[in-house]
Each structure stands twice: as structure tokens, then as C-alpha cells.
């Protein structure tokens, strides 16, 4: 059992899902309330990481972060090191990789708030931002927790992007999925099994929270 890799992965997932709350809420707000006719293009772009193979994302992240890209050079001049093969690089890759898992539940729950409440709030003199903060956000609590938990779980299980931009450095970029991969490739099946089992249990618990939060209090079957 590699606790260093486990701790590193939990730290990565916590940072990424927290940042995604901050980044995802404005995006989800815009996606919910914007009336721009080309909005669907942005929706498609946000959903891309769900369908793209991690290799595509990993490849572009590696190229974009590398010392031959403007972004990579800028980062290098500011911090003195390249982004690839660093924890920060993994955070950036994971933000992209898990973005839809936060934004989509956020946007769904914002959209599910009864519009008459929004009109009532506006007629009582609240600005759109006040209405969002006092009405929409509190009513979207389940969606926010779902987005947080899903992006957390998705980052925990990230493999392809990390394999391509991580460089497998113990304590820096060797995440738990990479550790499991290494254990399997070197035929340490019992060690791989311990780590895999732990990841399986943690992921199950996280998803149980998500589904538990979103369950209906009662179900009316069609036979009644």
C-alpha cells in the first residue's frame, strides 16, 4: 500500500474539486441564464473531456505546458520551472479533465430552480446577483455537492492524462492510479489489489453520497 501516492492523489482531487467550485459556478451560471444563440457550442466544449480519450487531453496539455509553447515559456519565466512533470501541471490537466463533472450538475440544479421564485425575488428589489446568491445557490445545494463529489472522484481515478504529463515522480506526480499500474506491470498483484480495493471503496462511498443526496424522498410507481 503506497500511502504517499494515496495522500498525493487525495490532495490533488481536493484542490481540483475546490477550484472547480470557484471556476464551475460562474460557467454554470452563464450556461443556465445566457440567451446567446451559440451557447450550445460552449456547452459542447465544456462536455468534451467526457468523450475525449485522455490521450488527446494529455497530448495537448503536454504541448501547451511544454517549454516550446508561449504559455509554457511564460510559466517558466515566472516560476523558474516548467509545468510538465510538476504537481501544478497535474492540477491544470485535472481541472480540464474534470470540468464537466462539476459544471454539468451545477447547471442542472441552477436550471431546476422554480422561475417564479426568481421573479418574486426580482419584484422584491433583488439584483440578479443577489437573487442568485440568496435563492438559487441555497436551493442548488445538492447539485453543488454532487458536482464537488463527482469531480473529486473523477480526479481520484484519473490515469491517462497523468501518465502522459506526470513523469511518475514519487511524491510529486505518482498518483494512486499510476502506482496501481506500476504494481500490476511488475506483477505485485497483492500490493496492486490493496490499493485498488481502497480506491474502489472510496469511489463507491463518494458515489453513494451523490446518489443518496439526489434520491427522491418517495417514488410513485406507474402501477399505483
Amino acid at each position: 500500500m503506497n500511502w504517499e501516492a494515496f495522500g498525493l492523489t487525495v490532495r490533488l482531487a481536493a484542490i481540483v474539486s475546490t477550484l472547480l467550485i470557484a471556476i464551475g459556478i460562474p460557467i454554470a451560471y452563464w450556461l443556465t441564464y445566457s440567451r446567446w444563440r451559440w451557447k450550445f457550442l460552449v456547452e459542447a466544449a465544456v462536455a468534451l473531456p467526457i468523450v475525449l480519450p485522455p490521450t488527446v487531453l494529455g497530448f495537448y496539455v503536454l504541448v501547451a505546458l511544454g517549454s516550446r509553447s508561449p504559455l509554457g515559456r511564460w510559466w517558466e519565466s515566472v516560476t523558474g520551472h516548467t509545468l510538465a512533470f510538476t504537481f501544478e501541471g497535474l492540477v491544470i490537466g485535472s481541472l480540464l479533465y474534470s470540468l464537466p463533472f462539476a459544471v454539468q450538475p451545477f447547471a442542472t440544479s441552477f436550471g431546476a430552480v422554480d422561475p417564479s421564485l426568481l421573479r418574486a425575488s426580482a419584484s422584491l428589489g433583488h439584483s440578479p446577483l443577489q437573487t442568485f446568491r440568496r435563492i438559487v445557490l441555497p436551493l442548488s445545494k445538492a447539485g453543488l455537492v454532487t458536482g464537488f463529489a463527482l469531480s473529486f472522484a473523477h480526479t481520484l481515478g484519473e490515469f491517462g492524462v497523468v501518465l502522459m504529463v506526470g513523469g511518475n515522480i514519487p511524491g510529486v506526480t505518482r498518483t494512486i492510479s499510476i502506482d496501481i499500474y506500476d504494481q500490476v506491470q511488475t506483477a505485485n498483484y497483492s500490493s496492486a489489489n490493496h490499493t485498488a480495493l481502497l480506491l474502489l471503496i472510496v469511489s463507491f462511498l463518494l458515489l453513494s453520497i451523490v446518489y443518496g443526496l439526489n434520491r427522491r424522498p418517495w417514488v410513485v410507481g406507474p402501477w399505483r
Binding site: L62, V63, L65, G66, S67, R68, H81, T82, A84, F85, L163, G167, N168, I169, D182, V184, Q185, T186, A187
Partner: protein, 254 residues
Amino acid sequence: MTKLPALLLLFAGAFATAQEITVAAAADMSAALPELVAAYTKKTGQRVKLSFGASGNLTNQIQNGAPFDIFFSADEQYPQQLISEGLGLKDTLYRYAIGRLVLWLPNDSPLDLSKLGIQALLDPSVKKISIANPATAPYGRAAEATLRHFGIYNQVSSRLVVGENISQAAQFVESGNAQAGLIALSHALAPAMKDKGRYWTVPLDAYPTLNQAAVMLSKSKEQDAARKFLEFLRSPDAASLLTSYGFSLPAEKH
């Protein structure tokens, strides 16, 4: 239902090519082996499918039943292990070349490799050094042994980045994400990298010899075709192609 005959034809087509053989090969052969196969297919019509990876990963796949006919390893231990487990045929084991490790720098590096040699790694401009994973790749173990041989392992260990196999280690430094790499000479000489950097050949006494060995797998269903391909490996044509990729040929054949 009109589509059924067409589908059947498709399946028939799939069975007609069932005689092709599948070769699992160490990643250092990723440039040389496709050329070898192209020459072989042109000569004999035999089709060969290739699958590349770290020798340790491929060994693990074979132990778990991967349907390969031949295994090209970057060192001799993995084939020996498969033979001892009854998965490889001892009489087919063939040491076809010796692999060489090089220190590779991209063109934009200011360092003078011919003067510095391995000491180039100690330069502050070298922030990341890519190597292959020592746990699964013989070239990774060779890189570690080299760094220890020159007594600089502790100085550079915090700057090592580990590729999943030697091809990824090469890609890390070729893409400029690492500033130096201990990679295979066969990659440094491959068309994709030849003009993008320069290299210093690590002396042979710095690491255990990378005896590249091929073996036919006992579960192969195309043993005749596989044997013929292994024979081709001993031909002068194959030898000259391997030499052009920087592999030295084994002094003694067995």
C-alpha cells in the same frame, strides 16, 4: 437481412489473414522493427503485427495470456524468465543485438556534450532528466546504473522524470519538456529525432550490457511462420538495418 452476406464476407476476410504473426517488442525497437517487418513482408508476403511496450510490461502481459507469437526484449532476463515458466521456447532464444544507451540533448541546449559527457546533467539549465521506468524497462535500469557508475545519482535523482517505457522517455526530452534524457541510441538515430538534437554515447562499462533477445512463445499458434521470421533476423539484410539504428551485433551467435 441483405447485409448478412456482406458481413459474412467480412468475417471470411478476417480469417483469410489469420496467418499473420504478432510480435511484442521492447520500445527501443519502435523505429527499427517496422522497417525490418516492411522488408520481410515485401520479401515473403508474410504480415506481421507489432505491439510495443516496456519489456517488463510485455512480459507481464505474456504471463497473463497475451496472444503474441514472438517477444523481442531489451534484455535477456525477461525471455529467460518466460522460458523458465514454460511460456517461451528455449531453442528459439536468440540474442539479436546489443542496445546502447545515450545521453540526448535537444538542439536548443547550450551544453557542449563532447566536452562535458555525463557531467552535462549537473548543469543548472538541466531541470528535468527523462529516463525509462527502472521497474519495467531495461533501459531505465541501465540509466540508473549509469548515474551510479559516475557517482552523480544522488545529485540528479530529484530531477529524474520517468517515462512508462523508453519511447516515452525519448518523447519527454524530444518535446522539450525535459532538458536531457538517457534514451536508446536507436531512438536518437531514428528519423523522428535525428535532426532535433545531439547525443553522447554512454560507455558500455557504465551499465550491465543490454543484450537484446528474441524468443518464440510456446502458446503461439503460428509457430512455423514465427520461426521463419526469427530466421530472417539472422540474415545480413536484418543485421545491416539493425546496425543502422545503432545496435551492435552479438559477437557470438547461439
